[in-house]
Symmetry: C2
Subunit: 274 residues, 2 copies
C-alpha cells in the first residue's frame, strides 16, 4: 500500500484522521446511539485478560461486533453477550483482498451497517499491530474511529520475567525492534549495526525463528558475547517460560529448550537481573 | 546505589525476587487476608484515569495505603474510600534518606504494619519509573510484592497525537530514551551518535528542558534536519497540546509555543503522519 518511507494522503483525510485520533474519547461511551456506526481499535494487552485497560474493557462490553485475531487475549471473548458477533480475522475470506485489507473491509462494512465495532488486538494497536492502517481505512470510508492503547508486550513481558527494560545507573534507553525479517533481508528497515552500538536494552518481537541471525548481527556490530540475554515464551500467561543466557549462547539455548512463538527476546544488562 | 553497569544481590534475594515477579498474580486478589502486608506496584498509565488496567484498578480499590507522586493519574484517587491513607511521596520527610529511599521505606513500613500498600505510579513502573528499585526494597525487607504494568506514555502519548511509533513499510523499530540528562553529561549512559544512526522512531521522555541539545546531537550524528518531529504536552489529558515541526526546527518551535513538562518528543517519519 505504501512505498517505503513515503506516506501520502489528501488534506481532507488527514484532517479527519487528526480529529478522530485527537478527540480520543467518544463523547459519551455509555450511549449506544453514539457508538452505533463507529469503530474502536482496542489494545488487548499481552495475554492476561485483566491487563486490558478499563476503557478498553468498557468498550468491548458494548460492542455489537468484535473482530479478533490470534494475537488478542481470547479469554476476553468469554465475557461477551451471546448476541455479539465475533469475527475471527483468520477466517475471513480473502478472495481479492490481502488479509489486512479483508480485515479493514470487514470493520468498515459492519460500522457502515450501524454496528459498534471493536477491533480487539494483542498488545498495543500501534506497536507492530498495523493499527494505523485500520484507522486510515475507517477515516477514508468516513467512519468514526477511536484508538484505545494497550499494554505492549515489549515492556510487560520482560517485566513478567523480572526484567525491567530500564534501570537507573544501568540503562536509560530501550529499543523495540521487529524480528519479522532477518538483518540484510530486502524488506528490512533496521540498521542492525547501529542497533549493536547502542548501550541499552534491545527487545526483539516476533524473532524466535530468526534468533541466530539477530544474535550474529549484534555480535558482528560489536555487542559483547557476554551481554545478558533472555527469551520469554507466552509472557504473562499460564504457559510462561523463560530461558536466560547471554548474547553468545541465547540462540542455541532457545533451540535446546524448544522455545516457540509467541516469544520475546531481551538483550542487555537488565536481562541479567533476575 | 548501583555502580554503572553493575547489579549485584545475594542468591536468596535473587530467588525471592524472581518468585515475587514471576508469580505475577497474588493468589486471590479478592481476599483481604492475602493482600494484607503485601505491596502492589501499579502502573497508572499516561494520565487519563480510564487507561489504568482492570487489574490495577481492582488492586487500587482494595488498598489500605496508596503511595503516589505527581506523575500518577491523581483523578484515580477520587474514587478511593475515605478510610484509605493516601501518601504524597513529594511530602515525605526525607531527613537521612534520599527521596527514593524515603518512598521505599514508607512502602515497606506500611506493609510490615499489615496494610495492603499500592504504589501508584505514572506510565509503566519499569519505564524510567525506578520501579525495580522499589521491588528490590520490598524483597530485601521480606515483603511480598507484585507488579502490574501500565500503559507507557512513550507509546500512548504519540498515539494520542495521531502518531504510531511503528508503521509497516516506514519503521520497524522505535527507541525510547530518557531526556533526564544531556548528551555528553557525565551521568549520560546513551550513545547519541548510535541513536542518530538508527532509521526508526526516537521517543524522548522528560526532555523538554534540553530539547536543543538532543536535536543538535541527532543532527551531528547524521540524522537529517528535515526528519519530521513533534512534541506533545500533557498527552491523553484535557490539556493536551501538540507542536509539529522537523528535527531542525522543533527546539525553536517548542520554545516559541511555550511547551512545558510533562511533554514527550517524537522524531522520525511517523511524526509527520497526522
Amino acid at each position: 500500500v505504501l512505498a517505503s518511507g513515503e506516506h501520502r494522503r489528501s488534506a481532507s483525510v488527514r484532517n479527519a484522521l487528526l480529529e478522530a485520533l485527537q478527540s480520543g474519547v467518544v463523547s459519551d461511551e455509555r450511549d449506544p446511539a453514539i457508538l452505533a456506526g463507529t469503530v474502536a481499535l482496542v489494545g488487548g494487552g499481552p495475554g492476561d485478560p485483566d491487563l486490558i485497560t478499563v476503557r478498553g474493557r468498557r468498550l468491548l462490553s458494548r460492542a455489537d461486533v468484535v473482530v479478533v485475531d490470534r494475537l488478542a487475549p481470547t479469554e476476553l471473548l468469554a465475557e461477551l453477550a451471546p448476541s455479539v458477533e465475533v469475527i475471527d480475522a483468520a477466517k475471513l475470506p480473502y478472495g481479492r483482498y490481502m488479509a489486512q485489507e479483508a480485515i479493514n473491509a470487514a470493520i468498515v462494512e459492519h460500522a457502515k451497517a450501524g454496528k459498534f465495532v471493536v477491533r480487539l488486538k494483542g498488545g498495543d494497536p500501534f506497536v507492530f499491530g498495523r493499527g494505523y492502517e485500520e484507522v486510515e481505512a475507517c477515516v477514508e470510508a468516513g467512519v468514526s474511529v477511536t484508538v484505545v492503547p494497550g499494554i505492549s508486550s515489549s515492556i510487560s513481558v520482560p517485566a513478567a520475567a523480572g526484567i525491567p527494560v530500564t534501570h537507573r545507573g544501568v540503562t536509560h534507553e530501550f529499543v523495540v525492534v521487529s524480528g519479522h525479517v532477518a538483518p540484510g533481508h530486502p524488506d528490512s528497515l533496521t540498521d542492525w549495526d547501529a542497533l549493536a552500538r547502542l548501550r541499552g536494552t534491545i527487545v526483539i518481537l516476533m524473532g524466535v525463528e530468526r534468533i541466530e541471525q539477530f544474535a550474529d548481527a549484534l555480535l558482528a556490530g560489536g555487542r559483547s558475547a557476554d551481554t545478558p540475554a533472555a527469551i520469554i515464551q507466552e509472557g504473562t500467561m499460564r504457559g510462561q517460560r523463560v530461558v536466560r543466557a547471554d548474547l553468545g549462547t541465547i540462540a542455541a539455548r532457545t533451540r535446546a529448550e524448544n522455545i516457540s512463538p509467541p516469544a520475546i527476546i531481551v538483550i542487555g544488562s537488565v536481562a541479567g537481573f533476575a
